[in-house]
Amino acid sequence: MSDSAPVRTFADVEFGEELPAFTPDVTMPTVRRFTDAAHMSWARFNDHEEARKQGLPGAIVPGIMSQGILAAMVNNWAPGCRIVKIDTIFRAALVVDSAPKCTGVVTDMDEEARRVEIDLTIANEAGETRVLGTAVVEL
């Protein structure tokens, strides 16, 4: 995406607006790329077999990667925005090599501060919410 992507302003946003569905890449090569950058190259994130030995359903996506994915969804929806705060709850494990979906919906708008609040989720293929959160975004 280039800087010529249209900037979303506060006036462009509607209360209750849904962000475009976002399908993040949580394949093993991408998760390893993340954990290498974040110095988190541990078996529970990078090796399905070892993760199962630890009682997990398989290698899991690091919580802070899920948080980064949700931030990316917001930034892709509103190029040029400023994320002021992002709060995420890691409810359950998100498995590497699965096909999760991210959603977001605008739940509050502050015209004076030109800020919106967005409810965020990441759900697995079964539609079960694995990560949820909120972001406060300045437009």
Binding site: M1, P24, D25, A37, G63, G68, A71, A72, G133
Partner: protein, 155 residues
Amino acid sequence: MDIDIQELKDGWCGRQFDEVSFELDVREMLEFAIACGETQPRFTDPEHPDFQAVPSYASRFHGRRAMPEDFPIKSHQGFDAGKCVEVHAPMRPGDKIVARSEIHDIYTKTGRSGDMLFIVHRMRFTNQDDELVSIVDWRLVQNRVSRRAPGEGGP
């Protein structure tokens, strides 16, 4: 575990117990952003005039210890329930960051399996100009605690 929450709060909250420093690496910032699916050049192009770390980047840093020395609850006794990042200013390549840790809050919530104890570990990140760039709150949860009133005896 029998715990006096108020006693814990009074004794531990707001006291800095750790300080670490590090320099931001451009390759790590870039790889982190791309792996998360960022597409905007200010996060994915180091030549961009406004190149900076993604908003949640401070979440990846840890101190030398998760809890103060002698704190009665160890971090390995709980699980990571989530992280909240407040973004105050951009983090840029080469920035020299200092992160200071404290216990910010301690509280309980009642769930289906009983009381859960939440410990909020806060890291404040400042840059080489002593400018606050980010605050990260990490919530550690421990299941099945029992509360006791202040002054009540316990094991």
